[in-house]
């Protein structure tokens, strides 16, 4: 059995790291990775909260957060592909 406090520490640290990455990284790919890390941290916090109160509502919310993670990843990658396809060929290569 692990203390739930430790899981919250891990989730908050991952969330902060993702936030730092989102603010400091300029590339589209870096921002996508940062948001994925933040959503991962969010679902960890929800699972830890579910264990604290021994209630599976947190698990259901975590499943929704993971669905949002997939939607964000797919939409972000699709937007990146469209942007790369439609950019001017004379333009310098983007930092994906």
């Amino acid at each position: 059995m692990i203390p739930i406090t430790h899981a919250f520490y891990l989730a908050s640290l991952l969330l902060l790291l993702g936030l730092v990455g989102l603010v400091l990284r300029r590339s589209l790919f870096g921002a996508l990775c940062a948001v994925q890390i933040m959503l991962c941290a969010g679902h960890l916090a929800l699972v830890a909260a579910a264990r604290i109160w021994a209630s599976v509502d947190g698990h259901a919310l975590a499943l929704l957060a993971l669905t949002a993670m997939v939607a964000q990843g797919v939409l972000g990658a699709a937007l990146a592909l469209v942007w790369l396809r439609e950019r001017d060929p004379d333009e310098p290569a983007p930092t994906l």
Partner: protein, 169 residues
Amino acid sequence: MTASLVLFYIAAALGLAGAIQALRSREPRAALRALAVVIGAAVAVDLLLVAPWVALFAAIAGGLVIAVMNLASGLGGDAPAGPRRRRATIAGLALIAGLTWIFLGTWGRQLAFPGHDLAPGASFGSLRQAATALAGETLTLPLALPLLLFAGLVGALALLDEGQRSRRR
């Protein structure tokens, strides 16, 4: 120190190292490998917190996201190393150092609550329980509906954009 606590510390260390590597890496494929480590660590922590179905879904969702992002990463060039990358690394390490300091400084006073006891033989974390909670009206209406509306809005915008383009042609 129990075996599950040791496993948790290993997963946490791997997850944090993976997150820093994913954020500081300038090569998309290396960043994706690091992101896979973060998702793997999250799956391990899910299992330790008695959420096997969430762990399974996280593994599938993570694999899907990494596969899709891998497609996009093949088309891009490397981001040049610059002061921002160094700043991201320094800020990440400073955050970890700060939280470690808090963690060690409050060691004896921490509320290390392991959660409410589960009843013997309780099926906490089962798929049936999660599905029942997900289907309950308190969760579905306020949460799933906006997500569906958002997806519909994005689809409508994409269709509108495509229609305008075909009219221009």
